[in-house]
Symmetry: C2
Subunit: 262 residues, 2 copies
DNA sequence: TCGTCCGGTTGATCTAAATCATAGCAGAGC
DNA sequence: GCTCTGCTATGATTTAGATCAACCGGACGA
C-alpha cells in the first residue's frame, strides 16, 4: 500500500531534528544520555513506564529502540504481524481501520505518552500512521510481554489505560451512532481542549495536527461536511479559525452544550 | 428514571426459576451447593475466574452475591456510583449511553461469562440493563480491586478481556462511522454467529434476545430501518425469519461479504 | 515571476436513512 | 371469545449529510 517505516533508529544519544509541535524542549534534549535517557523523558510520568523503579526502567530500556518518523508514515498496518509495541514520546499518530473499498474510520488520535500496539492477536487490528514528525519508543512485543509477567504494577497500569480507552471508545460510539455533524465537531474540539487542560496546556486555543480529511474520518463525516461545520461554528461565534490548523475557543459553554446534545 | 435493581439475593443454594434462553441447563443447576457453587458454574472457564485455583475461588466467592433479575431491569445506571462489578452467568444484558434528549447508543450486548462494571472512575460510564432473565454474580468493587492486587493472573486476564473489548469497540466504530444499513445488520448477524461458533453453538440459527429497538440503538439506525433491512436481507435470500426473534442464516458467505463492505 | 499543486471552502444536487403515518399480529388480561 | 397493548412491518414524505463540481489561496519548484 503506502510507505513502510523508514525511520532512523536512534538507540541513544542526542536527538537531531525534532521540530514541530511534538518535539521535546531543547533543554530536556540536552540531558539525554546513554546511561539513562528515560530519566529525561518528558512523558514518563504519564505513560506505562511511570510505575517502574530505576532498575526496572533500565531493563525495559534494554529492549527498546527509539525511532524518528516523518509525517504521513505508517508505523504499522492492520493485519501485519504484531511484532512490536510502541510508546509515543513526541508528535501525533492516527489509528484507523478500513474497508476493502477504501472507506476509512479513524478510531483515535494518539499524543505523547500514549501507548499502542497491544493486542492479544498475532496481527495488528488497525493501522497506525504519523500525522506529524514523531518520536516513538519501540519494544519487541514478545520480550515486552515476558517482562510484563514480572511487573504486575505495569500490567495494572496497562489495565487502567485500556479501561480508559474503552470509556473513550464508548463515547465515540455514541458520537458516531447518534450525534449530528455539529455535535460531533463540538465534541471533538471539547475533547481536545479537555485533554490539553488535563496536561496543563491551553484551554482556549487548539493546534490541530491533522487535516480536514482525518477529522472527517474520525467523526464519520466527509471533508466537505467538516469544513461546512467549522464555518457554521465560526458564524455562530463559538470558535475562531485564524488558520485551518488553529482553533480559538470563544464560546466554550455553548460548545460543551452542543457536544452533549444541548 | 426507570426501575432500580429489585432482585432477590441468592447467596447460595438451589436456583429457583431461571427459565428463558439464558438459564443454566437443569443438570448443572442440580450440582450447585453451598460449599462450591463456582465448581458447577457453566461459564467459569471463559470468564475472569478461570485462572484462579480452588482457594482463590473460595476467597472470591466469599465477597460475591448472586442476583436474579427479570427482563428490562436496570443493573446500574450511567453516572451512578460504581460500587460493584458483575459477572453474567446466564441471560443477556445491554450496555448503553444516552444523550440528554433520549437519543441512545447501545455499546454492547453481554452474554454468559461476560464481565461488567470495571471502571477507573467513581461513577459508571454507561447503563446496564437486562434483556432477558439474568443471573449475575456481584462483587463489591473495592474488595474486588483489593483482591486483584494479590491476584496478578486475574489482572492479566482482565487485561486480555479489556484488550479484546477494545478491538470489538474499534470494529463497531468502523461500523457506525462508515457502513451502510445492510452492512451494519449483516455485520451484527455475523458477529452473533461467530460468537456462537466460538462457544460451540449453532452456526446457522440465531436466537435474538433483543428487540428491533435495541438492534437499532446498537447499529446507529432507527427501528424502521432495521425492520426494512431485515426484509431486504430476507428477500435477497441471505436469511430467513421464522419469527422476529429467530434468524436462519442461509447465505453466510453473502452475508460475510456484505459485512466487510463487499 | 509564474504556473502547478494541494488543502480547504463553498455551491448545487442527490440519496440513504430518518421521520411520520398506518396497519398487522401475537400475547396478556378480562 | 374479545379488546388492549406492544412490537413489527411497510408505505409516503422529508432531510441531513453525501456527492459532484468549482473555486480560492498559499507553498513550492522551475
Amino acid at each position: 500500500m503506502r510507505d513502510r517505516e523508514r525511520a532512523v533508529t536512534v538507540n541513544s544519544g542526542t536527538f537531531r531534528t525534532g521540530q514541530g509541535q511534538g518535539a521535546l524542549p531543547r533543554a530536556t534534549r540536552r540531558e539525554l544520555d546513554k546511561d539513562n535517557p528515560c530519566a529525561a523523558c518528558s512523558v514518563r510520568e504519564m505513560t506505562v513506564c511511570a510505575p517502574l523503579d530505576e532498575e526496572e526502567q533500565r531493563r525495559l530500556r534494554a529492549i527498546s529502540s527509539t525511532l524518528k518518523l516523518e509525517p504521513g508514515r505508517m508505523v504499522f498496518e492492520e493485519g501485519a504481524p504484531a511484532e512490536y509495541v510502541y510508546n509515543i514520546t513526541s508528535g501525533a499518530v492516527s489509528l484507523s481501520k478500513s474497508l476493502a473499498d477504501g472507506r476509512r474510520q479513524i478510531t483515535g488520535f494518539l499524543y505523547p505518552g500514549d501507548f499502542l500496539g497491544l493486542t492479544h492477536n498475532v496481527a495488528y487490528a488497525y493501522t497506525a500512521e504519523t500525522l506529524t514528525h514523531v518520536c516513538i519508543c519501540r519494544f519487541p512485543r514478545k520480550k515486552f510481554e515476558e517482562m510484563l509477567l514480572a511487573l504486575p504494577q505495569m500490567e495494572h497500569r496497562l489495565l487502567t489505560i485500556a479501561s480508559n480507552e474503552l470509556a473513550t471508545a464508548q463515547d465515540q460510539m455514541l458520537l458516531l451512532g447518534r450525534k449530528t455533524a455539529s455535535e460531533r465537531l463540538a465534541s471533538f474540539l471539547i475533547g481536545l481542549i479537555d485533554r490539553q487542560a488535563a496536561r496543563g496546556g491551553a484551554i482556549d486555543v487548539i493546534d490541530l495536527p491533522m487535516g480536514r480529511g482525518e477529522i472527517a474520518d474520525y467523526l464519520g463525516l466527509t471533508i466537505e461536511t467538516v469544513s461546512r461545520t467549522f464555518t457554521k461554528l465560526k458564524k455562530a461565534g463559538a470558535i475562531a479559525l485564524p488558520d485551518a490548523n488553529s482553533v480559538h475557543i470563544i464560546g466554550a459553554d455553548r460548545l460543551r452544550d452542543l457536544a452533549s446534545g444541548g
